[in-house]
Amino acid sequence: MFLAPLGAKERHISLLWSEAVQLGNVSINISPLCGEGSIYVEDFGNTTLAHRLRDQDQTDRKEKRVAMATQTQIATEPKSDAVVEQKIQKLKELYADAPELGKAALENGLANIKQELAAISTTAGKQSAGRVGARQGKVSELTAILKITKDGAKRLRGLLEIMEGNFKGADVVGTLHDMRFVFLDNDTKLLFATAYDGEWDAYIDDFVTKIPTSMDLVFCNLEGWPGIHDPNIKDWLVKHQITADAWYVASPNLTVAETRRLERVGKALDEFLDKISA
């Protein structure tokens, strides 16, 4: 156990942490009780709540750094050279029989690819949105391909046109980042795709009681739509949804509500700065 007097600088803390980790099998706690700016290192062994909370702090801090990395693209857990080499090898194998264009792209872009692979943090991988769908941070995707009924295409197209190609009414839902309706295969199929906040399951029950007519108005044009009130509606949706294999989100921590809040705050701040700089 040692006590290191500490300046209040973040830099000092991370330096000490990495040193301590090399000692192996230690936990770190920055305890406000020790007085400002001290840090102590303690062995594992006890299983009191206090110790578990300290363990949790340590994991949290590590995870938080990794999570922040996905936003700012600073590598904090860089992939080791060996891992990168392995991936490059695999890429070369995959592209051995690719069209010439692809092979050339791999050759010419090798340096960039190496950089990108090295920067990928270990936990920035795709998460699950719940029963189905992919998620990055707070933002999930829903992608479905649905068969349109015989006369449904005309009706659905017409409805979307009347809406001016925009579903502003979806604002009321409050969690939809975007929503797209794309007609495929001669108007026989619909690609329905949306990015939304949170878990897949959480609010479908709320749609049933709050906006049942909106759902049925649109989706009655799809083959087999059982109606939003069907007790197995979630199963039906899962059946037609395909989880994305890759899901990139620029700002995984920005929910719709948070974005709107930041817009308001940003505007107010600008006005405030205008006033004080006048």
């Binding site: 709540l49 206090a50 994991t59 938080k64 029950d205």
Partner: protein, 444 residues
């Protein structure tokens, strides 16, 4: 007006009967080692389980019995019947840690014995108005176990109101409950309009107009419900330290304490008494819940992220489309361990086994609890509180904050910690009285 009437003679008393004040009781957790013994135990216990027919007799002590999925299996319930139960219930609470956000210090691998290992099969809870009554009803329950080795007691936890009916963090709790349509129970002011019975009891229409999926066969599922049982340990030392660190006078600390919950210690809601506590208001069930947030759109009385506003947003304008009426749940809090100690300050105080075991009752308890954990407790997006979490039952991350809206500038409190740590839990099915007889009558 709906003419739906809930069959009070079939549903267990605990669903409608309010917790007495003061209250005393015991939770008993049992494992069924032998199916026949388990069924025989149920057969003997069932005559002592009160129905809700005399729900107003809260003065009479009563027993409730719940069975986990592992318990239903152990009792020899047929496979197709087992499969008809909801997935979350079948998996058990420990396996739903991801959906519940039970990680870190709340991770099931850290839970107390006997939780989280699929061994808790039957939960029997006794509620009463006095210590004597508690002992009496508990010995009745124990008599039914006499002579059995096929059913073993895994754990027993006494609970009871502390002086002044306070929970371990020093608050009067359990004030707000949903009113159930067709129950015959008159709603108290502020409970909101009666919610369709099917949200709380299986076999009746829910808010969407249809009944929720019910376990089969009919006699097993109908008039039953589900219970989420969650045992929390209250870190009283940490809580008191937090108040002291963020308030320099007794008044400031008590105001901060109230801002975290949304009520003063007496139970008086901030919305009705924004500046000082009011004990007569807090003690009066006709008044202490009679409010909405229509005059507090900016959270200046009750902060958006405070506990009661999260658990029941009422008419708060939420950032996302929500039907608050389908997320209501009946809550029975049962406090255990030494009473609230305003002078507890040390980490050793945090280790004292004292806290609250919550029973959350609803026909879709698993879905509701998981929703509440994900959306209303461990996140703040729904109510404009960003990443912030419930200050009382949220699992706080490092660097967590709690925002108190006020003029001219909001106050953001740092150093908020996890004040209630999860020590164990399970999902139970609360069968109707006929269902209990059906279970007891199963054969190998």
């Amino acid at each position: 007006m709906s003419s739906v009437k809930v069959d009070l003679t079939e549903i267990q008393a605990t669903i409608l009967r309010p917790r007495p004040a003061p209250y005393f009781g015991t939770h008993v957790l049992l494992r069924v080692n032998d199916a026949e013994a388990g069924r025989a135990f149920l057969r003997r216990l069932t005559p002592h389980i009160d129905s809700a027919a005399n729900w107003w007799n809260a003065a009479d002590p009563w027993l409730e019995v719940g069975i986990s999925y592992a318990g239903l299996e152990a009792l020899g319930v047929p496979q197709d019947s087992l499969q008809s139960f909801p997935e979350a219930f079948r998996e058990g609470m420990a396996a739903r840690a991801r959906q519940l956000g039970d990680e870190g210090v709340n991770d099931p691998k850290n839970w107390d014995q006997p939780y989280g290992k699929g061994e808790v099969h039957i939960g029997v809870s006794a509620f009463s108005e006095s210590e004597e009554d508690r002992r009496r009803i508990l010995s009745i329950a124990r008599e039914q176990l006499e002579g059995f080795s096929g059913v073993s007691v895994l754990a027993m936890q006494d609970f009871g109101a502390q002086p002044g009916d306070l929970n371990p963090l020093g608050y009067k709790d359990g004030i707000d409950q949903p009113a159930i349509e067709g129950s015959g129970v008159d709603p108290l002011p502020g409970q909101g309009r009666p919610i369709k019975a099917g949200e709380f009891i299986l076999g009746y229409a829910g808010e969407s107009g249809v009944a929720l999926p019910m376990p089969q066969p009919d006699i097993l599922g109908r008039n039953g419900t589900f219970v989420g049982f969650r045992k929390y340990q209250s870190r009283v030392g940490a809580f008191n330290r937090f108040l002291r660190a963020n308030g320099s006078t007794e008044e400031e600390r008590e105001l901060l304490a109230a801002k975290l919950v949304g009520r003063w210690r007496s139970g008086a809601p901030l919305t009705l008494s924004p500046e000082v506590d009011n004990h007569t208001l807090g003690a009066d069930p006709q008044r202490n819940n009679d409010f909405d947030y229509s005059r507090d759109e900016r959270g200046r009385q009750a902060p958006f992220g405070c506990h009661i506003r999260r658990m029941n947003p009422r008419d708060t304008k939420l950032t996302r489309l929500t039907d608050v009426n389908i997320h209501r749940i009946i809550r029975r809090g049962t406090t255990y361990g030494p009473p609230y100690d305003p002078n507890a300050l040390s980490e050793a105080d945090d280790e004292v086994p004292r806290g609250a075991i919550f029973l959350f009752i609803s026909a879709k308890a698993m879905a509701t609890i998981e929703f509440l954990q994900q959306e209303w407790i461990n996140d703040g997006n729904f109510i404009g509180a960003g990443n912030e979490r419930d200050p009382i039952v949220g699992l706080q991350e490092e660097g967590a904050t709690f925002t108190i809206p006020k003029e001219p500038v909001r106050r953001r409190v740092h150093s908020i910690e996890t004040f209630n740590v999860l020590r164990g839990g399970e999902y139970f099915f609360l069968p109707s009285l006929s269902a209990l007889k059906w279970l007891a009558g199963l054969e190998n």
